[in-house]
């Protein structure tokens, strides 16, 4: 019964340290399964993460892995990819890591269209530091820094990614494991900046504060509120209630990635054979 994806984990570091029921484990598995599906060379694949519970995933994955500073995974990943374009670079980030402190790098990664696959573990909260509001915490939800309920409006990271120039944008959830795997695999296929939002549960820091401490219930909420994009597009506006959200592939267009574009500069400058 040894599953083939286990080879992508550093066995000596499991079990991982995430809380019971934490969705991060599910998303991490979806990533390695997508890697397996796409047949990426384990020696030529680099996992880059920021700081956060989710970003600890890099330590469990048996590749070259880089646990950067909070919010900075994308610039590091950009450097890796440009320095050695033969590497496959996958970025793991949290909702805080990617859209709070890392927001600028996120939109600029999209704009440059560097060939990265970015998976955002969206648990709607700062898990690692114990439950502060993130830019993706839905308005009115509670957090330790929003004891009276959040008044901030929240980002739609997929919409932002598309507006900033990402060439592949998709969303799925920890409940929809296989769909999530497919979305990530699609991102790996896209030669350019691919962004996949993976909605996942943080029972400890988000659930508890918001009357949903049971991780299974949180996953059922995903099941009940996620709507496949095709269906979503047909949904009448009054059915698009606040809790409901679309999942699926939102955008995909092929455009020259940064490293390829730079090769032309090198050509022009006469450095191609150096």
């Amino acid at each position: 019964m040894e599953r083939s994806f286990e080879k992508y984990f550093r066995q000596n570091r499991l079990p991982h340290l995430w809380c019971p029921g934490c969705g991060n484990g599910i998303v991490m598995k979806a990533i390695v399964q997508a890697i397996e599906k796409k047949g990426l060379d384990q020696d030529k694949t680099v996992i880059v993460s920021g700081i956060g519970c989710s970003s600890r995933a890099s330590g469990y994955m048996d590749f070259d892995t880089l646990h950067t500073a909070h919010g900075r995974a994308i610039p590091f990943a950009t450097g890796i990819k440009l320095a050695n374009p033969e590497l496959n670079v996958i970025v793991i980030t949290g909702d805080g890591d990617c859209t709070a402190i890392g927001g600028n790098h996120f939109i600029h990664g999209c704009r440059r269209n560097v060939d990265l696959t970015v998976v955002l573990f969206n648990n709607s909260i700062y898990g690692m530091t114990g439950g502060q509001a993130s830019p993706m915490t839905p308005t009115h939800k509670k957090a330790t820094t929003a004891p009276y309920g959040a008044i901030d409006r929240n980002f739609d990271a997929c919409r932002l990614a598309e507006a900033a120039g990402a060439t592949y944008v998709a969303r799925s959830t920890a409940f929809h494991v296989q769909h999530l795997t497919d979305m990530i695999a699609g991102g790996i296929d896209n030669k350019g900046f691919s962004f996949i939002e993976a909605i996942c549960q943080c029972p400890t820091s988000f659930g508890r504060k918001n009357k949903m401490a049971d991780p299974a219930k949180m996953m059922m909420w995903m099941r009940d509120n996620a709507v496949m994009k095709a269906a979503w597009d047909k949904l009448p506006d009054d059915k698009k209630t606040e809790e409901k959200f679309p999942i699926g592939l939102f955008y995909n267009e092929s455009e020259t990635d940064y490293a390829t574009a730079y090769n032309e500069v090198i050509q022009i400058a006469g450095g191609a054979d150096k």
Partner: protein, 66 residues
Amino acid sequence: MNSEITIKLPRCKGCGICVAFCPKQVLAVDELGKVMVVNADACIACGQCELRCPDYAIFVDKKVKA
């Protein structure tokens, strides 16, 4: 028994996700927070538990009839 359920106990954290998503009430979490099989015969090897376990602690294989 159509299936073989393997549990890597050290990995299990007793979150109850497998229990909740098992369509056949095959699983439960014991007092000290570990998954246990309480109704092996009912298992239909649907794989829901394995699919969603965040800790890669439970694996289900269809039993190959010998």
